[in-house]
Every structure is written in structure tokens, then in C-alpha cells.
């Protein structure tokens, strides 16, 4: 069976809420039924058939072709299967993702992996602010799963993140790990200001030392055995993180302004 493919006929003028298009929701539907599904489009509704050309039949692998940054909530609340986004995705990619895999081959807007619970989200391009954060009003962000970003990420990566793993090969903006509760964020590029701001617990694994504010305290250089376990777990994702092998790090702890016990680990350039 071929993957169920939704090819965008033309770039939409307004944002489209795609949360109704996940493998688990489309599993038992015919092409005609899928074409009749109504999606929120700006302040009105539009049917799937009007927006997309529908081909293929295997709903366990859903492909968005010619995808645009107007397609919000792709993979929201998904519980199984795989989604491939050939192009860019809008905001809230993988919102509340519970299981399965989403692969975005382009860039995404803000709030990717928002409230994510489990599963795997891959973004080949750049992503906006609040990656892995919580939605408005929630006091917990991402609660599990793995996010891999090949490009750059915006501000507030992992804001209030509770659990899980975020690996970013590029640069990130300001306030990375802000209000982080637990989990692990790895960044191979550069970071903006106020990294680990109000961080409670969790780990920031960095390749370069950002400018840290006064309440992130230097605990010296150490060899940490747990890193071998962490690096071993990275191997399955086939990223630049798979090449890490030093257990030697400079360890910073904070945010002391928040009585925090989070850690910022700066990887040594030589093992």
C-alpha cells in the first residue's frame, strides 16, 4: 500500500488547523470520507478535498506534500503511525504528540513539540520559538519523547520542559532551558542570552559556553559516567550527537535565583 498523501493544491491564505489529520484518526476512513473532513481555515471551515489532492491509501503513513507554514497542528494528539511533511510546517507541529513519528523536511513555526508526551519528532530545517514548551497557561511543557532539529531553533527552547530529549544541531536563541523542570536538551551550535534562566532541574548539554548570568554557578570540570549512557542512547538517531564520546565536561549549576539544581554541561573539546 502507498502512503496516504495529501498534496496541497495551492498555498493557503490563512492558517489551517490540521489536528484532524493523523494516522490514528484516518485509519478506518475511505478517501471520500477523508475529503469531506472539515478543517478550521482562518475564521471559517474548509474541506480536506478542497485544500488537498488525496492519493494513496495507507493511513499509517501520512504524507503532506507541498506543505506550507500555514498548516498548523500537524500531528496533534497523534497516537500511532508516521507523518512526513514534505515542505514547511506551521505552528504547533506535534502538539501533544502521544506516540508515533513525525518527520518535517523543512522549517516549522513556533511551538513545535508543544506539550509533547512521547514519540519522535524530526525537523530537518529550522524551528521557531518555544520548541518543546507548554501551551499557554500550562505549567509543564514537553513531558516525554524525543525531538531532533537539524537546523536552528528560536527562543525559549524547552520552556518548562518536564521530561524528554531535545537535540539541536544548530544554534538556539535566548532563554534556552528557561524554567526547565527536567529532561535533557543538547545544542551543538551557539546559544543566545539568559540560557538556563530560572532553571529548576534537568540538563543542558552544550558544545560551546554561552554567556551565563550570575546565578548559574561554575562547579568545575569533571568526568561524568552517566554521559556514556546518554551518548549510547543518542546513537539510534543518526545525528551529529552520535559522534560525541567525551565524558569530560565543565559543569554549571543553577539557576540559584530559583534555588535550582539544573545543570549546564559544556563538553570538553578533547576527551
Amino acid at each position: 500500500m502507498n502512503a496516504l498523501t495529501l498534496t496541497l493544491k495551492q498555498a493557503p491564505a490563512y492558517t489551517v488547523n490540521c489536528s484532524g489529520l493523523t494516522p490514528n484518526l484516518l485509519a478506518s476512513k475511505s478517501v471520500a470520507e477523508i475529503a469531506d473532513i472539515q478543517l478550521n481555515y482562518g475564521n471559517s471551515l474548509v474541506s480536506v478535498g478542497e485544500l488537498f489532492e488525496i492519493t494513496g491509501s495507507d493511513a499509517q503513513h501520512l504524507v503532506f506534500k507541498n506543505a506550507s507554514d500555514k498548516l498548523d497542528y500537524i500531528g496533534a494528539n497523534m497516537t500511532s503511525g508516521k507523518i512526513t511533511v514534505a515542505g514547511n510546517a506551521g505552528a504547533y507541529l506535534g502538539f501533544n504528540l502521544k506516540n508515533g513519528e513525525i518527520h518535517c523536511q523543512g522549517n516549522t513555526e513556533a511551538f513545535a513539540a508543544c506539550n509533547m508526551v512521547s514519540g519522535l519528532l524530526r525537523i530537518d530545517g529550522n524551528t521557531g520559538d518555544f520548541l518543546g514548551a507548554g501551551s499557554e497557561g500550562l505549567r509543564k511543557g514537553m513531558r516525554g519523547g524525543t525531538v531532533i532539529v537539524k537546523g536552528n531553533a528560536g527562543d525559549r527552547v524547552g520552556d518548562q520542559m518536564r521530561r524528554g530529549l531535545i537535540l539541536i544541531e544548530g544554534n538556539v536563541g535566548d532563554y534556552c532551558g528557561s524554567r526547565m523542570i527536567a529532561g535533557t536538551i543538547g545544542v551543538l551550535g551557539n546559544l543566545g542570552a539568559y540560557t538556563a534562566f530560572n532553571m529548576h532541574r534537568g540538563t543542558l548539554l552544550l558544545k560551546s559556553l554561552p554567556k551565563l548570568h550570575a546565578t548559574i554557578q561554575d562547579c568545575g570540570s569533571h568526568t561524568l559516567p552517566f554521559l556514556s549512557l546518554l551518548f549510547k542512547s543518542f546513537a539510534q538517531y543518526n545525528t551529529q550527537f552520535s559522534t560525541l564520546n567525551t565524558q569530560r565536561v565543565q559543569r554549571f549549576v543553577g539557576d540559584a535565583a530559583y534555588k535550582g539544581n539544573g545543570e549546564v554541561l559544556i563538553l570538553a573539546t578533547k576527551g
Partner: protein, 285 residues
């Protein structure tokens, strides 16, 4: 019985053994020690979770509560304290028991948890750096007290045969021989003339009592050694016994060993019977 396996790693094998020897010390018999424990085997770096040299430990107790208590106590006093040592789950059992779950409080609030590939680890800051331990390990139903007796014409001959058997049996996975050097000289029978004693010396196999009791020994037997085996399954123990007995047989007629027997305690101890002839013939009892 209940059994568990723990993997101990350290900077090198020397310190892994220091930790493992401490953890399995005073653990020869559940009667007096609470648990029976021993080192199962050495683990090369590609078999350990953290890529360091290590050893695997098997630990057995009469019930899950005792096993959990003993494991936590021994983890705290023997592994937490041992320089560079780390502890990991060595078995995926039907049930989970605490490994480092409560030890984390030693960190006094500075401890850190990491969930990696679905397994929770604790990093506890200690004076040599960080103590790393997995939160839980598996526990499964297991069997203890498999045994056989080596009857020989002299004490040196009996012990030499026992040592040979132990070296061969160490190559068998999933079993330990928990007594000193793997060998017991004080085999026991159930009961005693003294009301407070549940077990007492196995007088039928004591060579110095041949004329004074209902002996099981023929006149030429001067010494008897026992090997006790704990294992995760019946088959593991049976294989271990077969390997050990065959190693003794391979010593030949001049070894001084005249007979291999076993203590069955009149069938009063446990539901499992290891019938030596069946085991050596490869039949399951």
C-alpha cells in the same frame, strides 16, 4: 525463592571486584545471612551498560521482602561506598525491586535523575565524583539449594575435586555457588536433638562418626565436601551440577573420589528434586 541480578562496574576490574566481593560477603546461606549471593561472572566492556569493566552478581532470598531489604542495605554499604563503582539492573524480571531508588536520598537534594531509553538512573554526588545507579532491577522466581556431595578417601582429595568442579561450574551462566570458594564442609540435616535448632550437622556423612551413628559412608571414606548451587531456573542448576560432576569424573579413579551423592533431606526441603542419574543422562527430572 526469589532471585535478582545486579551488574557492578568500576574504573577497572580490580575495583569492580572490591565492590562485588563486599556486596556478596556474608551471604552464604539464607538461614543466617538473609540472602545467598555470589559473583556470576566477569563482564567485558562491551557487555556493560556504561562501557566499563564489570561483574554480574546473583542474589537469592526466601522472599521478595527480604531480598529487597538485603539488596538495598548491601547497595548502600558496599556499592555506594566503593570508589568509582556503579550499579545497573542485570535482569528483566517479572517484578521490579529497588536498586538505587531510595539510595538517592543520600544525595540530600543534590541528586539528579535521568530517564534514558526508558530506564531511570540516579546520579548521587559523592566525594569521588558521582555515584551512578539504576533505579530498579528485576526479580524473578528462582531455585536455591541444589547440591551434591563429594566422598573421597582423604580431605585433600575431596577438596581438590571440589575445586576442580567449582572451576568448571563457574563457566555456567545463571548460577552461583555461594559458600566460601563454592564449597561447604558443614553440610546439615533438618532438625536437631536441641529444640531451638532447625538444622544440625549431617552426622550420616561425618567421617569421624562412622561407628557412632547410622552412617552413609563406607569404610574408606575419610572426607566429604558439598557444593551448593543457587540458580535462576531448574535447568541452570541441573546443567551446573552435570558440568561439576563430569569435571570430577574426568579426574579419574586415582583422584581419591569414590562416590558422588547428594543431600535430599528426606524430601523435606523445597519442591525440587535433582536426581543425579537423570541429570548426567541429560533427562529432566
Amino acid at each position: 525463592m526469589r532471585g535478582t541480578r545486579v551488574i557492578i562496574t568500576a574504573q577497572n576490574l580490580k575495583w569492580a571486584y572490591h565492590a562485588a566481593n563486599a556486596m556478596t560477603g556474608f551471604a552464604t546461606s539464607v538461614i543466617g545471612c538473609g540472602v545467598e549471593a555470589g559473583i556470576e561472572r566477569e563482564l567485558p566492556t562491551d557487555e556493560t551498560p556504561d562501557g566499563r569493566p564489570g561483574v554480574s552478581i546473583l542474589m537469592f532470598a526466601m522472599g521478595s521482602k527480604v531480598l529487597m531489604q538485603q539488596l538495598e542495605t548491601r547497595m548502600g554499604q558496599c556499592i555506594l561506598t566503593c570508589p568509582t563503582a556503579a550499579a545497573f539492573a542485570g535482569i528483566e524480571g517479572e517484578d521490579k525491586i529497588n536498586l538505587g531508588k531510595n539510595l538517592r536520598y543520600f544525595g540530600d537534594g543534590f541528586q539528579t535523575s535521568k530517564l534514558i531509553d526508558g530506564r531511570r538512573y540516579w546520579r548521587i554526588p559523592v566525594m569521588d565524583g558521582e555515584f551512578l545507579t539504576e533505579e530498579t532491577t528485576g526479580m524473578m522466581r528462582a531455585i536455591g539449594g541444589g547440591n551434591f556431595l563429594i566422598l573421597a578417601t582423604s580431605q585433600p582429595a575431596a577438596l581438590a575435586a571440589a575445586e576442580t568442579a567449582i572451576e568448571a561450574m563457574k563457566q555456567v551462566p545463571n548460577v552461583i555457588m555461594p559458600f566460601p570458594g563454592g564449597v561447604v564442609r558443614s553440610g546439615s540435616k533438618v532438625g536437631s536433638k536441641y529444640k531451638t535448632m532447625f538444622a544440625s550437622t549431617n552426622d550420616a556423612f561425618c567421617p569421624t562418626l562412622k561407628g557412632a551413628t547410622n552412617t552413609e559412608l563406607s569404610p574408606e571414606i575419610e572426607s566429604v565436601m558439598e557444593i551448593v548451587i543457587d540458580g535462576l531456573t531448574f535447568e541452570d542448576i541441573a546443567l551446573s551440577m552435570k558440568v561439576g560432576i563430569e569435571a570430577i569424573c574426568n579426574l579419574g579413579a586415582n583422584s581419591g573420589v569414590k562416590r558422588i551423592s547428594a543431600g535430599n533431606y528426606g524430601g523435606k526441603l523445597g519442591p525440587h528434586l535433582f536426581k543425579l542419574h537423570d541429570i548426567l543422562n541429560g533427562n529432566k527430572s
